[in-house]
Symmetry: C2
Subunit: 414 residues, 2 copies
């Protein structure tokens, strides 16, 4: 379809500074770096603590290889005025800044709004925090699990009330931080369009900085469908429903003989007919009260028992074959093992081999969103602390080799 | 801090066409519309089925008021050549198109890449689908619950293996679709920067369209931290850990006397000391093996029992007071009721009152990401089907009133 040579990735030519740690801000820069932006991560000389998280190999985190990829690491002591000066010079040559210090922390480091505007008129500045930069509760401790609970996600990720005494499970990945990072990425790109005068107004004309204020709680809240509206209008407090969907049946996870779970989504009249034939329960298919979704919802316990009684007779592999042959939407619930081997992920480069200087060949997840004409590459895996300090100070901040040497000697950079 | 009059929202001046349904593509356009882009939603004359989802009031969905907000609805029969012509004329005057038909569906409607490029050189086209536009499995049925299971989220959102026979709960909101929508929004904005020659290259020069290809499975996979890399390097298959965090203790959800759950994140040495003092278990604080996070992880069952025994003595309100006074990060797990009343959400406009023509005053979630200088507004709530058909055909597509009348008579538009 497209015969021109592969174009550079969509964000090449942008330079973005990250003064971040842990997950949210670094996730935003991972996504923007994957799309081709040059990312300069400012770290303290002992590095972002996230570098130690997750399973280790060769004494180093494997997650970091992914989380830090496509970034340059500049290690600077921001408690020293010379460190602040150096970072200021980098900001002056950049398009955007993403940070997740506590609210006010960036200003306390020496980069308040006025200073940022002097350094780089039109700079896009994205602040990521637990609760936002303003408001009475902005200074509360910001942990991902707390933000997810306040944003409404945790309550709804549970079995139906009364089913179990177990506490509601956490979404087993850093969902709140990641979603906040995605909103920060959206904010940065929208701010850049505005700065360039393409959209909105003001940014390009008066050179004022473009501020984006992302709260983890709010990023989560924005995904909660109609729950706030339904509560306000009807007093309805949405409750969790476990493996099912509140408004459709049958759809759930069903057990296999070999101890796995298989998702079956047979929640249309046609799919329900196919499923009852497959499991040899045509008696259900003809019962008048099960002809509609509303009726099936009322009898969902009975339906799920019938499907489970059937599913338990087969190993997961056989189950998914049978369901696929009957054209019923279904899948094994994937672990990392199935993800790594999935032919679709492999075909689209969404699981790919990458060479890491420390670890050798590794599997990485691919680049999302995918631009078929300019898919980008993983230019580097997570860098070592300060790996690019000297190069960035010379190329971008305009320091001489002697000045850089002196900053190393003073312990300002590492 | 900022004294200039409020600037227009960051994406004002952009026009984006949505040929979407259900959740993923419409969620992308909701976010872009919230930031000020003009969204034109193309729907069949009987409307997007998502309009009927969720709790109803006045015979209409409350979720739709949110999901459809800041959009104009144009109802067109795309099986008619005149309908295709009308939509083509709208696309010709737009910056981007977001769609989530099955792969190839947009081309079958008459809008293949070549035609889109003729209509609008440089157009950004975001395709959202279950598995992507290419690859051996692209045509599988794309349900949110299936994409979440294939992307690795579902397996990790569960109690630890062996804890219960219950199936792994679904994240109780449409997380896979929403995350895919966020990536589509990122792709559209990145594509627009590239089109304008600000970044990348090629787009602006040769007028080729900018294609973005977002898969639900891949959007989910991209959030899964290091699980694929850890599996590839170590054969490690990450397993769920319920309410806890695999790498830190104690942090979990604990029961209150009144049947609620409270998150306590006391997973640092200092916070653990504070918590043991608060719950009157100084004996734990001095035990040598509990001085480190690694040691606490080994004894996490014992710790969680001790904390639960204490937490069960108090109602949730009192619990969170006690924890806050002791400066231990914690929160009640919010339902929609607590969200609606939260002072921080209210102070930041993240829960706000909106007037809906059909429903009257409603609560809506706010606009994320927040631009303090140009926060935008909810210009309209979810429109009725075809509410803007005539206006858009006249203003944007250049049809005369007589031509529009004829299209209505023929049933091409509604």
């Amino acid at each position: 379809m497209n015969t021109r040579p592969e174009a550079p990735p969509p964000l090449s030519g942008l330079r973005i500074v990250e003064i971040g740690h842990f997950i949210a801000a670094p996730f935003a820069t991972r996504i923007l770096g994957d799309l081709g932006a040059e990312i300069i991560k400012i770290e303290p000389p002992d590095g972002d603590p996230v570098r130690g998280w997750g399973a280790q190999s060769n004494g180093a985190s494997l997650w970091w290889s992914v989380h830090g990829r496509n970034k340059r690491s500049v290690a600077v002591d921001l408690k020293s005025p010379e460190g602040v000066e150096a970072v200021g010079r980098i900001i002056a040559r950049s398009d955007a800044l993403i940070e997740n210090q506590r609210p006010g922390g960036l200003a306390r480091l020496g980069f308040d709004r006025k200073r940022l505007q002097e350094l780089r008129p039109g700079l896009v500045v994205a602040h990521v925090s637990g609760y936002g930069q303003t408001g009475p509760l902005r200074d509360r401790a910001a942990f991902g699990v707390i933000g997810e609970a306040i944003g409404g996600l945790r309550h709804l990720t549970d079995h139906a009330p009364g089913t179990t005494n177990l506490p509601p499970p956490r979404v087993g990945i850093s969902i709140g931080d990641s979603v906040a990072g995605l909103y920060a990425a959206i904010g940065v790109l929208a701010g850049l369009l505005r700065r360039d005068g393409r959209t909105g107004s003001g940014g390009a004309e008066d050179g004022d900085i473009n501020t984006v204020d992302v709260a983890l709680t709010e990023a989560v809240l924005s995904l909660t469908e109609g729950i706030v509206t339904e509560y306000g209008a009807l007093g309805l407090v949405r409750q969790p429903v476990g493996a099912r969907i509140a408004s459709a049946a049958p759809t759930s996870a069903y057990p296999s003989a070999d101890g796995r779970w298989v998702i079956v989504a047979a929640n249309s009249d046609l799919l329900f007919q196919r499923l009852t034939a497959l499991i040899g329960r045509e008696d259900l298919a003809v019962r008048p009260e099960l002809q509609t979704n509303a009726g099936r919802l009322k009898h969902v316990d009975e339906l799920d028992e019938a499907i489970s009684a059937w599913s338990r007779r087969f190993d997961a592999g056989r189950l998914t074959e049978l369901l696929a042959k009957a054209d019923i939407p279904s899948t094994l619930i994937y672990t990392a093992a199935e993800i790594a081997d999935d032919p679709q992920f492999r075909a689209r480069g969404m699981v790919r081999e990458v060479s890491d200087p420390l670890h050798g060949d590794l599997l990485h997840p691919g680049i999302v969103p995918h631009f078929p004409d300019s898919p980008g590459t993983i230019r580097c895996t997570g860098p070592e602390v300060g790996q690019d300090t000297a190069a960035v100070l010379a190329e971008i901040a305009g320091y001489s080799q002697d000045e850089i040497k002196l900053l190393y000697q003073k312990g300002v950079i590492a």
